[in-house]
C-alpha cells in the first residue's frame, strides 16, 4: 500500500503534468511546484476522493490570511500529507 505522500505526489504529478521525480517531500506546492489556485482545486478534489475526506481549504486559507499559520504548514508536501493523515484518523475516530 502506498504512503499518503506517494499518493499525494502522484495526484499532483498527474493533475498538473509535473514530472513525478521533481516532486519531493520538501516541495512547496505553490512556491516550488508553481501550482496555482485553480489547479489546486483539482488536486483537492482528487485528494478528497482518494482519502474520503474534505480538505478544509477555506479554513487553512483563513488561518494563513490571519497570520495564524504559514503556507508551509499546509503546502509543503510532507506537511500536507501529515494533515491528510490527521483528517483520515479524525474521520475514523
Amino acid at each position: 500500500m502506498s504512503s499518503t505522500l506517494d499518493t499525494v505526489s502522484n495526484i499532483i504529478a498527474e493533475t498538473c503534468d509535473i514530472p513525478r521525480e521533481t516532486i519531493t517531500p520538501e516541495s512547496h506546492a505553490i512556491d516550488d511546484l508553481g501550482i496555482d489556485s485553480l489547479d489546486f482545486l483539482d488536486i483537492a478534489f482528487a485528494i478528497d476522493k482518494a482519502f474520503g475526506i474534505k480538505l478544509p481549504l477555506e479554513q487553512w486559507t483563513q488561518e494563513v490570511n490571519d497570520g495564524k499559520a504559514t503556507t508551509e504548514q499546509y503546502f509543503i508536501l510532507s506537511n500536507l500529507s501529515a494533515r491528510i493523515d490527521e483528517l483520515v484518523a479524525a474521520k475514523k475516530a
Binding site: L38, L41, F45, K54, P56
Partner: protein
C-alpha cells in the same frame, strides 16, 4: 432565454435538496443578434452558451443548497461534449447534480436534453465564495424570482 443578457435559462422546474439535483427549462430564442454571426444564414446555438446554460443550472442548485448564502463562480469545464446542433426555437431540459462538495469549491455533473435526446453534458467546477456585496445577493434573489425558484428564498444574506 435572452442570449445577449446571458439569461440562458427560463424556469427552475425543480430542486431536490435531498438528492442534490436540479431540473431547469429553457427555449432557444427564435431570433437573436448572436445568430447573425453564428452563423450567417445557418443559425446555431453556440456551444459555449450551452455550457454556460449548464453552469447557470448548476449554479442555482449550489445557491439553493447553500441557502442563498454563497455565490458559485465557474472555474473549470471538463469532459464537455456537444452532441448535436441546437437551432433557434429548440426546447431544452437541463439537469445538474452535485458530484462533490469541497471546501470552497463544488463540482457538478450537468446535461442538456431536447425532446429526450442528449444535447450536451459536462463536469463543471465552481469556486464558492460569500456574495461580494449585498446588492449582488439582492440581484440574484430577484433573478431567482424571475426564474420561479421553486422553494423558499431565505430573507437574509
Amino acid at each position: 432565454m435572452h442570449l445577449e443578457y446571458f439569461q440562458l435559462i427560463d424556469r427552475i422546474a425543480e430542486i431536490d435538496f435531498a438528492e442534490r439535483v436540479i431540473r431547469v427549462e429553457a427555449t432557444v430564442p427564435v431570433t437573436s443578434t448572436i445568430f447573425e454571426g453564428h452563423f450567417p444564414g445557418h443559425p446555431l446555438m453556440p456551444g459555449v452558451l450551452l455550457i454556460e446554460a449548464m453552469a447557470q443550472t448548476s449554479g442555482w442548485l449550489i445557491i439553493g443548497l447553500l441557502g442563498f448564502q454563497r455565490m458559485p463562480f465557474l472555474a473549470g469545464v471538463k469532459e464537455a461534449k456537444l452532441r448535436q446542433f441546437v437551432t433557434p426555437g429548440t426546447p431544452l431540459s437541463l439537469e445538474a447534480a452535485i458530484e462533490h462538495d469541497g471546501s470552497g469549491y463544488t463540482i457538478t455533473r450537468a446535461k442538456i436534453k431536447s425532446e429526450g435526446k442528449s444535447v450536451c453534458d459536462a463536469t463543471l467546477t465552481f469556486r464558492v465564495v460569500p456574495f461580494p456585496t449585498a446588492d449582488f445577493r439582492a440581484q440574484m434573489v430577484e433573478t431567482a424570482k424571475r426564474l420561479k425558484y421553486p422553494a423558499e428564498i431565505p430573507a437574509n444574506g
